[in-house]
């Protein structure tokens, strides 16, 4: 690549400094277009340092210099806060900068992770990305790169902004709502230990149940399908016992799941089945849950007997289905006629 070796105008450290200067000017009233171009040029040069190109492999010492300068300046904050003001292609270069820096390791430390945790404003500004539709997918990518590190995952789960994601998932734009769901999904599935610990706080469990129920009940088809899957994944995770117990003791939750069980979509039915089975298998059913199951005993039996014919070769599923039929069959039945004949006598 020409600029590195022929013209060689700027060292990596200089590059970061001039970039910072330009980015800082972006929100000003100046000629944004010109500044955008300027930023774009520097960012694509940075990308080549990080990724190399056809003729050159990336040089570790250059990357080290670049990182050093990034950590000692406001570079990442400036970029994160001004993403919307950068050009479309430049935003992708910012993603590359973050993901490459996040992968860096010195011994068993990740300097970028330490840096980001010491400067929480950067993570928070990115975490709130879905508030600005144009940059949702960019910040989503960066945040998901961050979530690969357990300590950042933990930090974000405990930030208030986290709860906004249930709202972000209901955005009108298909790309944005599904991207936000991806982030939500990663936050709750990538580091199982972190999530289990987070769910040991009963306050978190309560808000989580209320929020995910909202998505399952009111979401569009894709939201429903993804959120019910996420819920069943979490509930069936051994470490998340407290969530499971809490979820299956409420008859309100059972109603939501049963409504989905009888949805027209076979896929939704099938995903709901995996939550429903926990209600039935629970040896200590709460009274309201038991009442609903008893009340619908015959309908459930009929339903389950005919359920998902196309998955009959799935033995695990079939065993579960038969187990449920057994369990429900053993529930007390309400006998209409015998009741009445008693009254008549």
């Amino acid at each position: 690549m020409a600029f590195l070796f022929k013209r060689n105008p700027k060292t990596p450290a200089e590059l970061i400094r001039v970039l910072n200067d330009q980015v800082a000017k972006l929100d000003g009233s100046g000629d944004n277009r010109k500044i955008q171009d300027e930023c774009g040029r520097y960012l694509s040069q940075i990308r080549i340092i990080l990724y190399g190109d056809d003729d050159n492999d990336p040089q570790p010492d250059q990357i080290a210099q670049l990182s050093q300068e990034v950590y000692s300046t406001d570079c990442l904050y400036l970029l994160a806060a001004n993403l919307a003001n950068l050009a479309f292609d430049s935003r992708k270069d910012v993603v590359i900068l973050f993901s490459t820096l996040l992968r860096r390791q010195i011994g068993n430390r990740s300097p970028t992770v330490d840096y980001l945790l010491s400067r929480p404003q950067i993570l928070q500004v990115l975490f709130k990305g879905p508030e600005i539709p144009e940059i949702t997918l960019t910040t989503g990518q960066i945040i998901r790169d961050c979530i690969k590190h357990a300590s950042i995952n933990k930090f974000l789960l405990n930030d208030k902004i986290f709860w906004n994601y249930f709202r972000y998932c209901s955005s009108n734009s298909f790309e944005n709502s599904t991207d936000s769901f991806n982030t939500l999904n990663d936050l709750l599935t990538v580091h199982k230990k972190v999530v289990a610990e987070w769910l040991s706080n009963s306050n978190n469990v309560d808000i989580f149940i209320r929020s995910i129920n909202g998505l399952i009940r009111d979401g569009n088809y894709v939201t429903k399908r993804q959120s019910i899957k996420l819920l069943s994944q979490l509930i069936l995770q051994k470490q998340n016992n407290s969530l499971m117990i809490k979820y299956v003791e409420s008859s309100e939750n059972l109603k939501i799941i049963m409504n989905l069980l009888s949805d027209k979509s076979r896929n939704l039915q099938f995903e709901a089945f995996h939550v429903f089975k926990v209600f039935v298998a629970n040896p200590k059913k709460s009274r309201p849950v038991l009442d609903i199951l008893i009340k619908n005993r015959d309908k459930l039996l009929l339903f389950l007997k005919n359920f998902s014919f196309d998955r009959r070769d799935d033995t695990v599923f079939n065993e579960e289905r038969e187990f449920l039929i057994e369990q429900i069959d053993e529930l007390p039945r309400i006998n209409v006629l015998s009741n009445k004949s008693i009254q008549q006598k």
Binding site: D54, F88, K92, L137, G140, N172, F174, E175, T178, D179, F181, N182, N185, R210, R217, D218, G219, N220, Y221, V222, K224, R225, Q226, K229, S251, E252, K255, I256, M258, N259, L261, S262, D263, K264, S265, R266, N267, Q269, F270, P288, D291, I292, I294, K295, N296, K299, L302, F303, K305, N306, F307, F309, I334, N335, V336, L337, N339, K340, Q343, Q344
Partner: protein, 466 residues
């Protein structure tokens, strides 16, 4: 509210078909642009839809004049409607069908723009995986664009019927078939080399062979070469570069853009004339029209196309469990006879009972209806529940038993469940159907029969027989 794509797009004819759905020519009413609309039925894929959805996100982040532009995705019912740039000039495969083969100048012109498209995709860490003439599209003004990469390619691959689990065998790179060490973006360069041969000779190597057998031949045999006086040294060398069997030695798209075959590309290639001739030819030979037989309305696929209905209506009123809730006890005839996939037109969706009981969360939100609002959705089920005190003094007649459903069909269902063979089951179902039919002819028949049975049983009981 999210946008219903059926309001936005004016759908014209079907122009293609893939594994998951159809591709339509459509007009975006907001802009009057002609677009290619890919309708993907998500209900048909049992797999995790996460991957499909992620691909859409990726697609939306691609912008280059050398690939078909992504406009947006909308959800309707259980389908994704992906709006993409429509290329009115058809594909290079269409061009071949009319012109049989192309000149080196035209080939060079097409391949150069493909390389630019590939250079862009590869710089975005994206592998096309299915480069071939059929996926190289042309605009009426002669611009060249790569199409059908990623999700849009996977779901609309053109030769679905012929091919098996893999891409399109003739164009596949050897390492993609063997998969010993995985593969990278270099597979596109190989496919491009095969496409050069396709454009210049009219068909890819081995085209007359069984695609499945070709799968074994490609990794085993030496790479195909262009030979003979018909071709210039430049194009021979170019294909040779693309068709290097070892992927790491195969050059990149960027490198190939500087190859002399591409560098010496003539500027004034008249692709527009070729396209025009092709369009005229297609107009004359209308039976060759790509996929006119697939014409189908995308709205027909809707799962929720009329009203949002659930298969089963559960009873969530649990106040008076000691007394049977006969009125809520409902089996529609359809449910009796068939699997849960048949839906009674009378069943009422009941989402509000959920909200009603929950107190703090009492906003009654009608279930998200993707096609049309369901007025019944807010009828609370709980209203039909009768207070306990009233029930205990009621006699059977006042409780309004549906003799057909609550007794006859109920019992027949029980009998059918006891049946050991499917033949017996069938007989019982036949009987149930007959009963329904006769009840319709003679309303009250069921009641009379039940009454007589009831009296007879009571009589026998009194006489000590039972």
């Amino acid at each position: 509210m999210s946008i219903d794509p059926a309001d936005v797009f004016n759908i014209k004819e079907c122009i293609g078909r893939g594994t998951f759905g159809e591709v339509y020519k459509a007009i975006d009413k907001r802009t009057n642009d002609v677009v290619a609309l890919k309708v993907v039925n998500l209900e048909e894929s049992n797999e995790d839809i996460k991957v499909l959805v992620q691909e859409i996100g990726f697609l939306s982040q691609l912008r280059s004049p050398y690939i078909t532009t992504y406009f947006g995705t909308y959800l309707r019912d259980v389908s994704m409607w992906i709006s993409m740039e429509y290329c009115g000039g058809g594909s290079c495969a269409d061009l071949l069908r009319c012109h049989k083969k192309l000149s080196e100048d035209v080939t060079c012109f097409i391949i150069r723009d493909c390389l630019k498209g590939l250079k862009y995709l590869h710089s975005e860490m994206k592998i096309h995986r299915d480069i071939k003439a059929a996926n190289i599209l042309l605009t009426p003004t002669g611009q060249v664009k790569l199409a059908d990469f990623g999700v849009s390619g996977q779901i609309t691959a053109t030769h679905v019927k012929k091919q098996t689990f893999v891409g399109t065998p003739f164009w596949m790179a050897p390492e993609m078939i063997t998969r010993k060490f995985g593969y990278n973006e270099k597979v596109d360069i190989w496919s491009l080399g095969i496409t050069v041969i396709e454009l210049i000779t009219g068909s890819p190597p081995h085209a007359s062979h069984d695609p499945l057998k070709v799968l074994f031949r490609i990794p085993r045999e030496p790479a195909p070469v262009l030979i003979g006086d018909d071709f210039t040294e430049a194009i021979k060398e170019f294909t040779q570069c693309c068709l290097i069997k070892v992927p790491s030695k195969r050059p990149s798209a960027e490198w190939l853009l500087n190859h002399r075959f591409i560098k010496h590309c003539r500027r004034n290639v008249n692709a527009v004339a070729l396209i025009q001739q092709k369009q005229d030819w297609f107009a004359k030979n209308s039976r060759h029209k790509p996929c006119s037989r697939y014409k189908k309305d995308p709205l027909v696929n809707d799962v929720y196309n009329d009203d949002y209905k659930t298969a089963f209506k559960w009873s969530f009123t649990t106040k008076n469990l000691s007394t049977p809730d006969i009125i809520n006890y409902e089996f529609s005839d359809e449910m009796l006879f068939d699997s849960p996939q048949v839906y009674s037109s009378s069943s009422i969706v009941n989402t509000s009972s959920v909200g009603k009981n929950s107190g703090k969360d009492s906003k009654s939100v009608p279930s998200k209806n993707l096609s049309s609002p369901d007025t019944n959705a807010t009828t609370p089920n709980d209203n039909v529940d009768i207070p306990c005190s009233q029930k205990t003094v009621m006699t059977g007649k006042e409780m309004q038993i549906d003799y057909l459903r609550d007794i006859l069909l109920y019992c027949l269902k029980k009998v059918s469940n006891r049946a050991k063979t499917s033949g017996t089951k069938e007989t019982v179902l036949q009987l149930a159907k007959t009963v329904v039919e006769f009840e319709h002819q003679q309303v009250g028949l069921s009641e009379a029969i039940i009454e007589e049975i009831w009296l007879r049983i009571n009589g026998l009981k009194n006489e000590g027989f039972l």
